[in-house]
């Protein structure tokens, strides 16, 4: 055996060894990061609409397509004369790592305000959140089915408060991941007749690539940025969670001609305002588009309602009144 051949063999062996160690190590760590990425521990719910003095019903319904059990509240709207109504219903969709109460962005208070302005509200926990069935977090890709399940429930499920009847029209309001999820669901479901999107992202992958390295995961601490692309791929391979498909930007135009209200905080450093501009441009592209926008000065991520309070309610209720029409319910139950 020549010396040269021996040297070459050693070099090739070294190459294989390095490639093997790096690749197997990289894939192993990325798989672990993926496992952490697709899971958000459910947060318990502390308060109900009763804490706001509102009547409500607990509801349970399946997601569309995969039939996961989802839980929520149906809160009837309260008209100016004190009468309850379910004529116009708004599906409220919470953000990531929270639940239908969503203390961080005061979602319970917001749903209460909508109800007090005559809009019935279906606030529910998406899969893996609150009291709903544990399931992977997919940043909207799979959660769309939950929003569609909520629409199915309102249209053909058991009537939550029988004396109020079934909702005549359905709108949707989503915050952050809930907004992105709602946009994708509304693009597929014409029964959602008006959409309010607060702090939605245009696509989630750039957001994850930026944010995941800031998080710590057990055992390895901060995730080096280089592992994120493989972790996203491994999420798809191991758990069927396709973060690459969480792209409202691709489908938002299909919401037209239904009215769409885009809200975003100008001081949002989590989902930068460039996402709002991209979504607005894409949504406004069809000639039939009907897009309203509101950039909220100084508001950070998903904090527009918390910061502006009554103004937020006035704008959102005004949008739903204009889009869904006035309440047409017959005299029914009293509050």
């Amino acid at each position: 055996m020549t010396r040269r051949l021996r040297r070459t063999r050693r070099a090739v062996a070294g190459l294989l060894l390095v490639a093997g160690i790096l690749s197997f190590g990289y894939v192993g760590v990325s798989s672990y990061v993926a496992e952490q990425l697709v899971y958000a521990a459910p947060i318990p719910i502390d308060k109900t609409p009763a804490s706001l003095g509102l009547r409500f019903a607990y509801v349970t319904f399946p997601s569309r397509q995969d039939h996961l059990t989802l839980r929520g509240w149906f809160i009837p709207g309260v008209l100016a004369n004190g009468r309850l109504t379910a004529d116009r219903a708004v599906v409220v969709v919470h953000g990531t790592r929270t639940n239908r109460e969503s203390k961080g962005d005061h979602q319970l208070q917001l749903t209460g305000e909508l109800a007090r302005h005559g809009l019935a509200v279906l606030a529910f926990d998406m899969r893996g959140a609150g009291e709903s069935t544990p399931a992977p977090l997919s940043m909207g890709t799979l959660e769309q089915r939950d929003v569609l399940g909520a629409v199915d429930f309102l249209r053909s499920g058991p009537i939550p408060i029988p004396e109020l009847g079934r909702p005549r029209v359905i709108g949707g309001l989503g915050i952050s991941m809930g907004a992105a999820t709602l946009l994708m669901a509304a693009a597929r479901e014409p029964a959602i007749q008006a959409v309010v999107s607060d702090s939605a992202y245009a696509e989630v992958v750039p957001l994850l690539e930026r944010e995941v390295p800031k998080r710590t995961v057990p055992v390895i601490g901060h995730v080096p940025g280089g592992f994120v692309p493989a972790a996203l791929v491994m999420s798809r391979v191991l758990y069927d969670v396709d973060f690459f498909a969480a792209r409202p930007i691709d489908s938002i135009a299909a919401i037209a001609p239904r009215p769409l209200f885009l809200i975003h905080g100008l001081a949002d450093d989590y989902v930068p305002v460039s996402n709002f501009h991209r979504l607005n441009a894409a949504a406004s592209a069809p000639s039939t588009a009907h897009v309203m926008t509101w950039l909220v000065p100084k508001a950070r991520h998903a904090q527009a309602f918390k910061q502006t309070g009554a103004e937020y309610v006035t704008r959102v209720v005004g949008f739903f009144d204009a889009s869904l029409g006035a309440d047409r319910s017959l005299p029914g139950a009293a509050a």
């Binding site: 090739v12 062996a13 093997g20 990289y26 496992e35 690539e209 930026r210 994120v228 493989a230 191991l238």
Partner: protein, 99 residues
């Protein structure tokens, strides 16, 4: 025949990757019946143990292939195996960060 032997690590990389994916899919289907909270760690465990076994098998196959490699064709095939092995890493790093 020697070239075939030298190509064995490359074939093993491809075959084992496919086998590992198949085993993980089966593990996923079975564990999913117990719910996501069970499925999540089970799938990761099966995958990581599978990776370890694949790495061990590949190291063993590569070692014997290197010992027998005495032509430039067989050495090139081994280099190709190393490139195939590193390709997932190279591809994902190339995508990072996304535009």
């Amino acid at each position: 025949m020697r070239a075939v032997r030298a190509g064995l690590p490359l074939l093993v990389v491809l075959a084992l990757a496919a086998a590992l994916l198949a085993i993980t899919t089966v593990a996923r289907e079975i564990s999913a019946r117990a719910g996501f909270l069970v499925e999540r760690p089970v799938v990761l465990l099966v995958w990581l143990v599978g990776l370890l076994l694949v790495a061990t098998l590949l190291a063993w196959v590569s070692r014997s292939a290197i010992r027998r490699a005495d032509t430039s064709v067989s050495l090139w095939l081994l280099i190709l195996a190393a490139v195939a092995l590193a390709s997932p890493l190279l591809l994902t790093l190339q995508q990072h960060p996304s535009p």
